[in-house]
């Protein structure tokens, strides 16, 4: 059962991809998120180290306070503040006159966990709305006996291949192809052709 007609689904995917760039200033993609959770300990360690480095508003405020206290203690109470980075961070980054957007910093791991949880929540809502997969369980029926092993092996190929080509159906197939990026167009053509070939061979073997 389909809830969304193809044009509505296509439009919603496009709005999600373009909106994600405009709001987050990061290209929408999923395999990069998976890659982070494949190395979750390393990612957490990197975040801890980054938070210890003196960046961010809190660290900046602390540094300013410390510098002010020193200046007062040293008796050199001169107005040297305008050169501080606080002035530049307080100013709006993009004026309304539409300056080109720069690539933003990557989201913290918590943000990407929320993204994946959102994906699952979307699936749950769709199911609650009544659009379930095949009654017998589409996945269990998909590969027949040993389906879990097939799914795990297929997942392995998805994870390795997606990381190797640097994107997935979302990152290359939609975000990259929409921008006519050569790497994305080639990757999408090759993975669609391979998937069609393998699916046809598998389908022929099964029927």
């Amino acid at each position: 059962m389909t809830v969304l007609p193809w044009w509505a689904a296509g439009a919603a995917l496009a709005v999600t991809a373009v909106g994600h760039w405009i709001v987050e200033r990061r290209p929408l993609g999923v395999s990069g998120v998976v890659a982070r959770f494949a190395n979750v300990r390393g990612e957490l360690r990197a975040e801890r180290e980054a938070s210890r480095a003196p960046t961010g508003a809190e660290a900046l405020a602390a540094a300013l306070a410390e510098a002010t206290a020193e200046a007062i203690a040293g008796g050199e109470l001169v107005a040297a503040a305008p050169s501080s980075p606080a002035a530049s961070t307080a100013a709006p980054a993009t004026p309304p006159g539409r300056a080109p957007r720069a690539l933003g910093p990557p989201a913290p791991l918590l943000g990407h966990a929320a993204f994946l949880a959102g994906l699952a929540a979307g699936g749950l809502l769709v199911r609650l709305a009544g659009a379930r997969l095949d009654a017998a369980g589409a996945l269990a029926g998909h590969a027949g006996a040993g389906s879990l092993a097939v799914l795990a092996a297929g997942g392995l190929l998805l994870g390795f291949g997606g990381a190797w080509m640097g994107g997935c159906t979302t990152g290359h197939g939609i975000t990259g192809c929409a921008r006519l990026m050569p790497g994305s167009l080639l990757a999408t053509a090759v993975f669609l052709a391979t998937a069609a070939l393998v699916a046809s061979v598998l389908g022929g073997a099964r029927s």
Binding site: A102, G111, G159, L202
Partner: protein, 152 residues
């Protein structure tokens, strides 16, 4: 933006984007392996409903076309990262395509399936995490290129 720490606001926004993507993938059946199989076999898969394959291809083409229009109109001149052809583009895509056919699932769809109550998708997710980790090892040991896409 005002009182809440920026990390929490960003997590909420990313959750909303994930929710939107999950709703579309679930609602359009692009997270349904039977639908994907119909698409990949051009409707020749056993049990494929007539029109399924066309509907799936039309959805993807519509998405890429309208996103292209959106990027051209709303993001011209922006510093979106380039996606050049690299050494890993073709071999990675071959492996990825084979995985897509085996599972009937792309990486985003696996998480949508979990939400739909398909516990078997845990196997797909575990495989993806292991595959991505293996790639990381291979990149360090064998000098393969590639990473995930710049990411959400």
């Amino acid at each position: 933006m005002t009182a809440a720490p920026p990390a929490r606001g960003r997590a909420l926004r990313l959750a909303a984007f994930g929710l939107a993507l999950g709703l579309v993938l679930g609602g359009s059946r692009l997270a349904d392996p039977a639908f994907v199989e119909a698409m990949l076999t051009l409707g020749r898969a056993p049990g494929a409903a007539p029109g399924d394959a066309l509907r799936a291809w039309a959805t993807l083409a519509c998405a890429a076309g309208l996103a292209g229009l959106g990027f051209a109109l709303l993001a011209r001149g922006d510093a979106l990262p380039p996606r050049p052809i690299r050494r890993g583009t073709v071999p990675g895509a071959v492996l990825f395509g084979a995985g897509w056919a085996l599972t009937g699932t792309c990486p985003a769809a696996a998480f949508v399936q979990l939400g739909q109550g398909e516990l078997a998708a845990l196997a797909t997710v575990a495989g993806m995490l292991a595959g991505s980790r293996l790639h990381r090892l291979a990149r360090a040991r064998l000098g393969l290129d590639g990473t995930g896409c710049a990411g959400a």
